[in-house]
Amino acid sequence: MSTYNFDYLDELEAEAIHILREVAGQFEKPALLFSGGKDSITLVRLAEKAFRPGKFPFPLVHIDTGHNFQETIDYRDKMIERIGERLIVGSVQESIDQGKVVEQTGKNASRNALQTVTLLDTIAKYQFDACIGGARRDEEKARAKERIFSVRDEFGQWDPKRQRPELWNIYNGKIHKGENVRVFPISNWTELDVWNYIRRENIELPSIYFAHEREVITRNGQLMAASPFLNMDDEDIVFRKQVRFRTVGDMSCTAAVESEAVLIDDIISEISSSKISERGARMDDKVSEAAMEDRKKGGYF
């Protein structure tokens, strides 16, 4: 028997590529949900490894809340140009203009919850039967329960009590018309695995992941980037701070962390010693103990 080097990152990578190719083989109209965050950037690299020199058998879909960090949008556009794949943008602003959703008001207003409607509309419009996402099971306790091929009903709902058995590495993607499957190729990766992979593969990231100085305010005990998307009032004191973002979502719900980490090595050692989880920086998860489960039942990513 020959020996070969196959460490844990190789194993996670091979599993993810296998899953992506199953999506290509099993579905008519798949899509890759691209958020501009490190996890979906990792998915793009994995898709390159799965399908090059061919084209991706799916477009990238970005659900644009209109409240993105500009750095994310710049990164997205540059990346699309480099990889030469198709990008579809679903706009939350459009959903608001069409009266399909109503903008939240008040201090903690965010468009995060509104995304679900735009996502479901986009899925319906293009009739996607599978949506690949970058969610990981280590992120959150409801996610820890989800299958790699996760079937959603016509209304996008996840039913955690009726998940299909998922055996060995065999993924059942059979669905009825109107249903669709959310597929999570990096389910078994941890945050640290993603960073180690990004370092190993030399993948470029949006600059906001690295420490930089920016204007922030304190909101509910967390640092938030000062921006026109945040409902600020006289009580909010804006100050400058060296920060970075550990997870990148909407500007109105993603908190920054104080950080000196300007290089990827710094980030990896920072995360290794951190005592706070990545999702600790997401206001959207703090609402209740079952916040993520409830959003998933409603059709969220």
Binding site: K161, K174, T190, K275, G280, A290
Partner: protein, 416 residues
């Protein structure tokens, strides 16, 4: 560093979730904000300490009922190894979720409540562990704190289990007395059980020798996708993309393509921007062949000198996983790697009575039933026996009326 995948099994309330919570807690794998959420939760132990089970019981219904309904996956690492844990439910009603968690694992932790000893679910789960061919087993006799850490109690339970292990032909069975609640012998060796001179659970898990991947000599790669760029400069490019299930493919190896039986030679192996000389079990690669053969998704590329079996009639063990009973008169779909074809269960050979482990004739197969059947497939499958090659010896059954996965199949023989 490599990965060990394991899962916990055992009856309801034997302490599976608590044990995992304890492992995470005592290895310092729980982050401050998660701990905070635990501390503020309403579900507490009687003495007011935090209930570690809610770390994995992530669904609202699970927390409300204090039971596990579906598998939860947890991740942690030590200096020695990375671990992927599947916390599976003990309730018989959720056995299919237990099998889901077990199917990808290479080690099983079977918990037994020291007060109750071996019970029906212990037998059921141990039987499933033997069917699924899990190579390593650790039997944790839990709740030792409730039996005064008594060696006699421990000894009488493991004596009973040893009989069961022998009946089931389980190999590599190890025993550890623990208290998941108090942390005895989980990460640190307990000083409340001086009579036990073995290792703590964590130490055992760190050093147990497991090959994550099947490295048998049977080289097999099911084709998942054909890469055909069809651009001017890559006009003739035809790459067969898939994951090597087992064995190794080398450049210039003679291969056979099944089911057509066509033969060819490996011309080139690609992995993104690399062109390695070999592709090994577990790797996702792209293979190019010297000859222009017709290959599509569902076909399998295999080593020409070690062919798998090919048959339309296969004897297999079946775990039934659907509320609607098996119907031998209708057609199901069978999915074997990337291949899907129609099938029927043409015969039920026997069902296994979980309490006695006896086989008996049956004409009914209901939720959680386990037994031996004959599958008749529309197209022949190219398979290996499950015990020789797990990845190429397993398949799922799909009910095309509901699209649900209704059965797990482990191939035991081709029927002549």
């Amino acid at each position: 560093m490599n990965i060990l995948k394991f899962f916990t099994a055992g009856s309801v309330d034997d302490g599976k979730s608590t044990l995992i919570g304890r492992l995470l807690y005592d290895t310092d794998s729980i982050l401050a904000d998660q701990l905070e959420a635990l501390q503020s939760s309403n579900r507490k132990n009687d003495d007011g300490t935090i209930d570690l089970a809610i770390l994995t019981d992530g669904l609202r219904a699970e927390r409300e009922q204090g039971i596990t309904i579906d598998v939860a996956y947890k991740y942690f690492q030590t200096d020695k190894r990375k671990f992927i844990i599947a916390d599976t439910p003990g309730h018989i009603q959720y056995t299919r979720n237990m099998v889901t968690g077990a199917s990808t694992a290479n080690l099983a932790i079977i918990l037994i409540d020291a007060r109750n000893g071996v019970v029906e679910q212990t037998i059921r789960h141990s039987y499933l562990v033997s069917l699924l061919g899990i190579k390593h087993i650790v039997v944790c006799i839990n709740k030792m704190d409730m039996v005064d850490y008594s060696e006699a109690v421990y000894q009488s339970i493991i004596d009973k289990y040893k009989v069961l292990a022998q009946q089931l032909k389980l190999k590599d069975v190890n025993y550890i007395p623990v208290s998941a609640l108090k942390g005895d012998n989980i990460v640190q060796n307990s000083d409340r059980m001086e009579w036990y001179d073995g290792e703590s659970l964590l130490h055992f898990l760190e050093k147990v020798d497991t090959d994550n991947l099947d490295k048998s000599q049977l080289a097999r790669m099911p084709v998942q996708w054909v890469i055909r760029p069809q651009t001017d400069e890559l006009h003739d490019y035809r790459g067969y993309a898939g994951r090597v299930l087992s064995g190794t493919f080398n450049l210039n190896d003679k291969v056979t393509i099944l089911p057509s039986g066509a033969s060819s030679t490996i011309e080139r192996i690609e992995f993104f921007d690399q062109a390695p000389d070999a592709a090994h079990a577990g790797q996702s690669v792209t293979i190019h062949l010297k000859d222009d053969v017709d290959i599509s998704r569902g076909d399998t590329i295999v080593n020409a000198t070690a062919l798998p079996q090919e048959s339309k009639l296969i004897e297999a063990d079946l775990c039934w996983m659907d509320g609607r009973a098996l119907d031998t008169s209708i057609m199901y779909l069978i999915q074997h790697n990337s291949k899907v074809t129609k099938c029927k269960i043409s015969e039920i050979l026997h069902k296994v009575d979980i309490n006695t482990l006896e086989k008996h004739a049956a004409d009914e197969f209901k939720l959680n039933d386990i037994g031996r059947v004959i599958v008749k497939t529309a197209d022949a499958l190219a398979f290996d026996l499950y015990d020789d090659n797990r990845a190429n010896g397993s398949a799922i059954l799909i009910d095309s009326r509901t699209n649900l996965t209704v059965g797990a199949l482990m191939f035991r023989a081709a029927v002549e």
